[in-house]
């Protein structure tokens, strides 16, 4: 059925108000949209890695989730989900759950719990092909502990462990391309998205991921007002800039086949993204012009590679 925002918004809320995420946190938007992508007749089990979302969405005795939820540790959301999925298969096999009692197994973690410390368990679960969907809310750093760099932090971003200074222009390395790494596992459905337009791109990818059998993955660029240093209300323009500069291209890989889901009419220079955030402020200081050139060069290279794959 074609995407219709009103129909989507008419659905009962499955990620509730009263959670303790910061004002303007992108993760709240992600969780709501993720849960809208689960068909209303289906239930879900959410397996959450330790992080901002976990401490904010289930602080005893307050759970923001309508569905069952489990948090065990930081690095093992995928392994925990593997166990839940094995249990689900067992119960279905033994007739302990009726034919109409269907659960979707979801895992969700930040970039720390996904790109870094949770990478092994993610890789293991992908390889084993458990029927679950992993959502990464990638906010480009360890936000729960106060914006330390992660392997998802882009080059030149100032993080608290890679601060800009007289001898530093922020993080030295480019971000790990986790989406590509997941594709290399042979996952049947992998996508990159963020919060733009009327959330159609997000919704369709999330729904397709959840309803594709096997281990699927959705990587969501998720701005963090505190860590990225921008006024909270600017979330949408930052997301838009990320896709229009091709810093965060929107695409999906279906059974290994690449499809671009959004191509900017006019590819914007990276400054359009970087200048909106305090974490790149030093890049615009006299003498640091080269950082923007280098960032542009890298984005151009990655974009060309992606276009090649999508052809």
């Amino acid at each position: 059925m074609a995407y219709n925002l009103k129909n989507e918004m008419n659905k009962p809320e499955r990620f509730n108000a009263g959670h303790r995420l910061c004002a303007g946190c992108g993760a709240g938007i992600v969780c709501r949209a993720m849960m809208r992508a689960v068909n209303p007749e289906d239930k879900a089990v959410i397996c959450n890695a330790t992080g901002c979302l976990e401490v904010s969405s289930f602080q005893y005795p307050y759970t923001a989730w309508d569905d069952s939820y489990i948090h065990t540790a930081f690095e093992n959301a995928s392994a925990t989900a593997s166990g839940v999925e094995a249990a689900y298969r067992f119960m279905k096999k033994k007739g302990k759950l009726g034919q109409d009692q269907n659960f979707k197994i979801l895992a969700i973690g930040g970039d720390g719990g996904t790109y870094d410390i949770g990478f092994q368990s993610l890789s293991g679960a992908l390889e084993r092909g458990h029927d679950f969907t992993y959502f990464c809310y990638d906010n480009n750093a360890y936000m729960n502990t106060g914006t330390q760099r992660s392997s998802a932090t882009p080059r030149f971003a100032s993080a608290t462990t890679t601060p800009a200074g007289v001898e530093s222009v922020g993080k030295k390395q480019v971000q790990k391309d986790l989406t590509q790494i997941v594709v290399s596992h042979g996952s049947p459905y992998v996508a990159q998205t963020t919060m733009i337009g009327n959330m159609k791109d997000f919704h369709e990818k999330a729904h397709r991921a959840i309803y594709t059998e096997g281990a699927t993955f959705v990587n969501v660029l998720t701005p963090c007002p505190r860590g990225w240093q921008y006024p909270a209300e600017n979330l949408l323009e930052i997301c838009k800039a990320a896709v229009d500069t091709c810093i965060w291209p929107l695409y999906e890989v279906v059974e290994g086949e690449y499809h671009l889901t959004y191509e900017p009419k006019k590819k914007l220079p990276v400054e359009e993204f970087m200048s909106k955030q305090g974490r790149f402020k030093h890049c615009f200081a006299p003498g640091n012009e080269w950082t923007i050139e280098a960032a542009q060069e890298y984005v151009d290279k990655k974009w060309d590679e992606l276009l090649e794959k999508c052809r």
Binding site: N16, A17, G24, A33, Y60, P61, M199, A232
Partner: protein, 98 residues
């Protein structure tokens, strides 16, 4: 089954749930995060075209939508981030003058 509303910071350990489990949906609604707000968005109903573009972008599920139409903010939970103000194409949400 123990309800979250019966659990508070003065109950003895015997009355906590085993393993700190919770058995109901959405108990976070009991937390009034509206108290965090330093600025308040206001919905100007007469300017609103009911496109509901604001609703999916509220991180705090504080723009209720029923039958395809939004209602007024849930001020018990709205943290005042202002994303909805920027999401609205019709300037139907603005900061309240305080």
């Amino acid at each position: 089954m123990k309800k979250a509303s019966e659990i508070n910071e003065s109950i003895p350990w015997q009355e906590m749930t085993v393993g700190c489990e919770i058995y109901e949906p959405g108990t976070s609604r009991l937390t009034k995060t509206g108290e965090w707000r330093s600025r308040t968005p206001e919905w100007i109903e007469e300017k609103c075209k009911q496109c509901v573009l604001c609703a999916p972008f509220c991180p705090d599920s504080s723009i209720p939508v029923k039958d395809g139409r939004r209602g007024d903010f849930d001020y018990d939970h709205c943290k005042g981030c202002g994303i909805c103000i920027k999401a609205c194409p019709f300037e139907a949400i603005k900061w309240r003058e305080e």
